[in-house]
C-alpha cells in the first residue's frame, strides 16, 4: 500500500494542507505492494491520469435506489414506532457512535428485507447517515460540524464495508484507471480526513 511506502518516503506527499486532503492528484509514493495484483492493475491502466470515475446509474439501479429510499423514509419518518426507536438510539453524549449505529442498523435491516443491489448501498448509506444526523439535530439538539459529519460518514462507510466486504475483483475494477499516484493520493486523503475529523 502506498501508506506503507509513504512511511519509507514520508516527504513525498503534502499531508498537512486542507487542499491536499481533497485533492485526488496529491502526489505520493508508489502505492500497493508488488504482489502481482498491482502489476496487473498497472498494466491495465490505460488512463493513468484518470480520477476515480463516476458513472450514471442505470435505470434499474435508479429504481432500486428509489425503492431503498422509500423504505428509508418509511423507517425514519413514516412509521412512528421505528422513527421513535431510531430516535431513541441517538445519544447526544455519544453522538457520532450512536448515529453510526442507527445508520448501519437501518441500512442492514432494509437490505435484509429488500435485498438491495450492492451498487446502491454506498449512496443509500450516505443518505441514511444524513437523515439520521438531521433527525438528531432536530429532536435531540445535536449539532454536527463538517468534521463530525466526516467522522460519521467515514465510520458508517467502514462499517458497511465491514459488513458487505469486497474482494480482489471488485477492488481491482474500482481502482482500474487509477495509477499508483492516484491510489496513494486517495490513501493520503483518507489519512488527512481522518486526522482532520479527529481534530474536530
Amino acid at each position: 500500500m502506498g501508506m506503507l511506502q509513504q512511511a519509507e518516503n514520508p516527504g513525498a506527499v503534502d499531508v498537512t494542507s486542507r487542499e491536499a486532503a481533497v485533492d485526488p492528484n496529491v502526489q505520493g509514493a508508489p502505492a500497493t505492494p508488488a504482489n502481482g495484483v498491482a502489476v496487473a492493475r498497472e498494466s491495465a491502466d490505460k488512463t493513468p491520469s484518470a480520477d476515480a470515475p463516476e458513472e450514471q446509474a442505470t435505470p434499474e439501479e435508479q429504481a432500486e435506489y428509489e425503492k431503498a429510499i422509500d423504505a428509508v423514509t418509511t423507517v425514519l419518518y413514516k412509521n412512528q414506532g421505528t422513527s421513535e426507536a431510531i430516535n431513541d438510539m441517538l445519544q447526544p453524549q455519544d453522538k457520532i457512535s450512536s448515529v453510526v449505529q442507527a445508520t448501519v442498523l437501518t441500512l442492514h435491516q432494509i437490505d435484509a428485507q429488500l435485498d438491495l443491489d450492492g451498487s446502491v448501498i454506498p449512496q443509500v448509506t450516505q443518505d441514511i447517515a444524513d437523515m439520521v444526523m438531521d433527525m438528531g439535530e432536530k429532536t435531540k439538539g445535536m449539532t454536527f460540524s463538517d468534521k463530525e459529519a466526516q467522522a460519521v460518514l467515514g465510520s458508517c462507510w467502514e462499517a458497511v464495508m465491514q459488513i458487505y466486504g469486497t474482494d480482489e475483483d471488485a477492488y481491482h475494477n474500482f481502482t482500474q484507471g487509477l495509477d499508483d499516484k492516484k491510489i496513494s493520493g486517495y490513501e493520503q486523503q483518507y489519512q488527512n480526513m481522518l486526522k482532520e475529523a479527529s481534530n474536530g
Binding site: 446509474a57 458487505y164 489519512q191
Partner: protein
C-alpha cells in the same frame, strides 16, 4: 489474500457503487449531500480499507503504527454491534433460520471472541491492534463460525479479539429469535431502543411485500370503518341512499359487522362492486 476472496464469495461487493450517480428524489439536503467531500471520503476509504484488506497489508500497517480508522476512532463503542452485524449477508440469512446455530453464534457473541470472529472475515476494524499473523487465523474462525454456528470461539479468533481490544459484547441472548436480534441483543443497548431491529425489520418486511398493497388495505379498512359508521345510523343511511340515486350497494359475502345490518336494512339490494361501496360510503 485467497482467504478473503474465498470467504467473500457470493457476498455483496459494495465499493463499486461509490462511483454511481443517482438522481435524488428527495428535497432533503443534509450536510453530507451538500458537501464536496462525501464522495471523496468514501472513495478514499474504499481504496484505503479495501486495499489493506485485500492485499494483506493489515499486519504491516499495524506494525507501522498507522492503524487508526474512522470506525476505531469515532465509533469504538459501536464496534461490538457493528462487528456482530458483519456477517456475510447470504450466510447470515441462512443463519437466521437456524435456531441451534444462531444460539451458538449468540453465545459466541456474548464475549469478545465472538465479536472478533464476526468481524474478522473482512479484516476491517481491527486495524492497528491485531498481532501479526492473527488476522488470517481470526478470519478463518469467523468463516467457521458463520458456517457452523457453534464453532465460534476458535483459538485464533479469541487471540485476535483479545489483541484487538474488542468490547465484550454483553450478556448474550436467549435462544429465541434470529441471529441478528441475538447479535443486537448481545451487543447493543437495546434498552434504549426497545423496538430495535425487529421492529424495523417488520416494517420493512411489510414494505417489501408491497407498499401499494399495504396502502390499499389501509384504504379499504378506512372505507369499511366509515361505511360501518353510516350503517349504525338509519337516518344517515337514508341520507346516503338519497344521495346516490339508482345505486344499490354491494353486499360483501364475508362477515364483517355491517353485513348483517346491511341485510336488515336493505335486504332487497343487489350486489354491486367494492368500488361502488366505497363511493357510496363517501357519499358520491
Amino acid at each position: 489474500m485467497g482467504l478473503l476472496k474465498k470467504i467473500k464469495k457470493g457476498i455483496k461487493n459494495v465499493i463499486g457503487g461509490v462511483k454511481k450517480v443517482f438522481k435524488k428524489g428527495l428535497k432533503f439536503v443534509g450536510k453530507i449531500a451538500a458537501s464536496k467531500w462525501g464522495k471523496i471520503l468514501m472513495t478514499a476509504a474504499s481504496i484505503y480499507m479495501g486495499g489493506i484488506a485485500i492485499y494483506g497489508a493489515l499486519q504491516g500497517v499495524a506494525q507501522a503504527g498507522a492503524g487508526a480508522t474512522f470506525l476505531q476512532t469515532f465509533a469504538s463503542g459501536a464496534k461490538g454491534a457493528l462487528t456482530a452485524l458483519a456477517n456475510p449477508i447470504a450466510t447470515g440469512k441462512q443463519a437466521l433460520g437456524l435456531g441451534a446455530q444462531a444460539a451458538g453464534s449468540a453465545s459466541a457473541l456474548g464475549g469478545a471472541s465472538g465479536a472478533g470472529a464476526f468481524g474478522a472475515p473482512e479484516g476491517f476494524g481491527q486495524l492497528g491492534t491485531a498481532a501479526a499473523g492473527s488476522a488470517d487465523a481470526a478470519g478463518g474462525a469467523g468463516a467457521s463460525l458463520l458456517a457452523t454456528g457453534a464453532e465460534g470461539a476458535a483459538s485464533g479468533a479469541g487471540q485476535f479479539a483479545a489483541s484487538s481490544g474488542l468490547q465484550a459484547a454483553g450478556t448474550g441472548a436467549s435462544a429465541s429469535g434470529g441471529l441478528l436480534s441475538k447479535a443486537a441483543g448481545a451487543a447493543w443497548d437495546f434498552a434504549k431502543s426497545p423496538a430495535g431491529s425487529k421492529l424495523i425489520g417488520n416494517v420493512i418486511k411489510g414494505y417489501g411485500e408491497g407498499a401499494a398493497a399495504d396502502e390499499a388495505a389501509k384504504q379499504r379498512w378506512k372505507e369499511q370503518r366509515y361505511y360501518d359508521e353510516q350503517w349504525r345510523d338509519p337516518n344517515q343511511l337514508m341520507q346516503l341512499q338519497n344521495q346516490v340515486s339508482g345505486y344499490t350497494p354491494y353486499t360483501p359475502t364475508a362477515g364483517t359487522g355491517y353485513l348483517s345490518r346491511a341485510a336488515g336494512y336493505q335486504g332487497n339490494y343487489a350486489p354491486g362492486s367494492p368500488e361502488a361501496v366505497a363511493a357510496y360510503a363517501r357519499g358520491y
